[in-house]
């Protein structure tokens, strides 16, 4: 069979296109879709509701203090936390409904709403701000994500995701996430300023399988500009998909 020159050119073009497509397919296979990874993280970590007890250890320059609490969480819009110890914080309650936050203090028997710029204050002197706790928007809604590589972290192979803000009103212009390739659990997160300076780092560890999902039980938050060992948040007990009475997520429950 004779192949003339124009036909030859067409075949060459097709081959080039096929090679290009196949290499693209290989590339996308090698570096999976970042949004897909974020969705899988959401699926793994989110639940209809959960009840958990936790301890938050704030490492200061001279001493450390630990605050324990019990939290009830429904979806990502409603949460109720009651502090159990130390005696100074015992009985303090915090209620978050959508984008509103109230705190009840037993010593004054008053409920105050934390709003506006008070949200930028630290929670109980930790490296976390109320705003960090309040931000319940999904990362896929606020950031453009790309997979920038793969790395071994804490003995696990991870995807490195680089997130760049696509809306104006986010606290951090860029984020970097290290996500366990098998379990789809973030193991490390770094938060950056607009200038690119590293501001905060969270390291997630003690990943255990609970009710079929992988869950990090310890998170260490660290303000990278500040000296100290950061704030360690440890989940001591967690139950998913429990029956949580509706009254828990009302302001009245703060004074109960």
């Amino acid at each position: 069979m004779m192949i003339n020159l124009p036909e030859m050119k067409t075949i060459t073009k097709k081959i080039i296109i096929i090679i290009l497509f196949s290499s693209f397919a290989w590339f996308t296979y090698g570096q999976p879709d970042a949004n897909g990874i974020l969705h899988q993280i959401d699926e793994n970590l989110s639940s209809e509701n959960r009840i958990f007890e936790s301890s938050m250890t704030i490492h200061g320059r001279r001493a450390s203090r630990t605050i324990t609490s019990r939290s009830y969480v429904e979806g990502d819009k409603k949460s109720f936390t009651e502090y159990l110890s130390p005696p100074r914080e015992q009985g303090t309650k915090m209620l978050k409904l959508e984008n509103q936050l109230w705190i009840y203090s037993p010593s004054t028997d008053r409920t105050i709403q934390i709003s506006g710029h008070m949200l930028r204050q630290s929670v109980m002197g930790s490296d976390l701000s109320y705003e960090d706790m309040m931000d319940d928007r999904k990362l896929t809604e606020t950031y453009n994500a790309v997979v920038s590589g793969s790395e071994e972290f804490d003995g696990r192979t991870t995807w490195i995701l680089e997130l760049t803000a696509r809306v104006d009103d986010v606290a951090y212009a860029t984020r970097k996430l290290w996500v366990d390739k098998e379990r789809f659990v973030p193991l490390k997160e770094e938060l950056f300023a607009k200038s690119g300076q590293l501001l905060k780092r969270s390291v997630l560890s003690d990943v255990v399988q609970i009710e079929g999902r992988w869950f990090p039980k310890t998170i260490v938050y660290k303000d990278m500009l500040k000296q100290g060992d950061g704030t360690e948040f440890k989940v001591t007990d967690i139950k998913f998909n429990q029956d949580i009475p509706d009254y828990i997520f009302t302001k009245a429950s703060l004074k109960m």
Partner: protein, 391 residues
């Protein structure tokens, strides 16, 4: 009356040491009261002139959301500078300042501060803003001495500054301390970092905006501007007035104790005089003096202590007060702890009104105290008095 003064003078001089002791105690009251009042007047003058030079100029316009006692208002307290002020700003007679909340991390410690953007070429304030016009590898910044001391920062030190832009996104950069200034106004030093206005506007995406507009001329007619609140100089210095008023009330306790001691001495002297000089009183009446005249004589005698005290006080007080006005009085504690515009060394300021009013008050009080025991004379029986019988 002339005779009364002559007699009073002779009697006082004749009483010798007793008179001079009274006079010295009273003169001490004179000098101390004038000095203390002078210190307060000096503080008032210094505080207001320091505030003018460092903080408030001839008055200010505040952004309507700005509340100096609530740092949370800073995030909303900024807007475009009204067009009508363009000329005044151009001529250097108005200085815009943009204020933003931030955090600095000296030696890894976290410190909330206010970032103030100011024109490096301004000359309305004594702030060394020309030091902001420096080419450096980091953002040039000036800070107050009190803050430099508490954060252990020095010239040429680099420190990380973190802030949020107008949309709430974090940003961070290094600043370099190009100068450290010392003022007597804690509110311009405490937890504040001054950087060039243009750089802060760029950092926060607040182009053409300001939080405060300080003008030079306090006398000029100031129109109401929408979105901005006019704060005349008297309003901005009202805190000094209130503090001086409180301090004056506090000091009056001290004056009262001083005067009480002096008056007690004079009262005792008067009682003793009347008791010991009954024959003399009887003689006066026998000579034709009315009781009122005798009471007047003794009152003048007592009151004359204050005149002597004024003269004696002037002898040593004038050099002392003049010397104090020259060298001032250094407060034996850190003046910055007061949280007000207060110099470490206060220079007393004396006015004619202050001296005259103090002399008048002391003379009147001494006269009243002298008259009080003298009233007894009016009830005396002259014949018994002549015999020197105790009544």
């Amino acid at each position: 009356m002339k005779t009364a003064f002559k007699l009073a003078y002779r009697n006082l001089i004749g009483a010798g040491l007793r008179t001079w002791l009274n006079v010295i105690v009273l003169s001490f009251s004179f000098v101390v009261i004038i000095w203390l009042k002078g210190i307060l007047m000096g503080w008032d003058y210094q505080a207001k002139s320091d505030m003018t030079n460092w903080e408030i100029g001839g008055g200010q316009y505040w952004h309507e959301s700005y509340d100096p006692y609530d740092p949370f208002t800073l995030a909303e307290s900024h807007s475009i500078i009204p067009q009508q002020f363009s000329d005044e700003i151009e001529q250097g007679d108005m200085v815009p300042v943009l204020m933003v909340q931030g955090t600095i991390y000296p030696q890894g410690r976290m410190q909330s501060i206010t970032i103030k953007g100011i024109d490096p070429d301004q000359d309305l304030f004594l702030l060394p803003t020309h030091q902001l016009d420096t080419a450096t590898d980091a953002v040039p910044a000036i800070i107050g001495a009190a803050m430099a001391e508490s954060l252990q920062l020095d010239r040429s030190d680099h420190v990380t500054l973190r802030w949020r832009d107008a949309r709430g996104t974090f940003d961070a950069t290094d600043i370099v301390i190009t100068d450290i200034f010392s003022s007597n106004v804690p509110s311009v030093e405490a937890a504040q970092v001054y950087i060039p206005l243009a750089i802060l506007r760029e950092m926060t995406m607040m182009q053409g905006e300001a939080t405060l507009l300080t003008f030079r001329d306090p006398e000029a007619e100031r129109p109401a501007v929408q979105g901005w609140v006019h704060k005349p100089k008297e309003v901005l210095t009202a805190s000094v007035d209130r503090m001086i008023k409180t301090k004056t009330a506090g000091q009056s306790v001290f004056y009262t104790i001083l005067l009480l001691l002096a008056m007690l001495a004079i009262f005792d002297t008067q009682v003793l005089s009347i008791f010991r000089r009954q024959k003399e009183i009887g003689t006066y009446i026998a000579l034709g003096y009315t009781r009122r005249e005798v009471v007047g004589l003794f009152t003048v005698e007592g009151a004359m202590h204050s005149i002597f005290a004024a003269v004696v006080g002037a002898l040593y007080g004038l050099p002392f007060l003049a010397w104090q006005a020259e060298v001032g009085w250094t407060i034996p504690m850190d003046a910055g702890d007061f949280g007000m515009a207060m110099a470490q060394t206060l220079y007393p300021v004396y006015s004619a009104g202050l001296v005259i009013s103090t002399v008048l008050i002391v003379v009147v009080i001494t006269t009243v105290v002298s008259y009080w025991p003298s009233r007894k004379i009016a009830k005396m029986n002259p014949t018994e008095a002549l015999r020197g019988r105790i009544q």
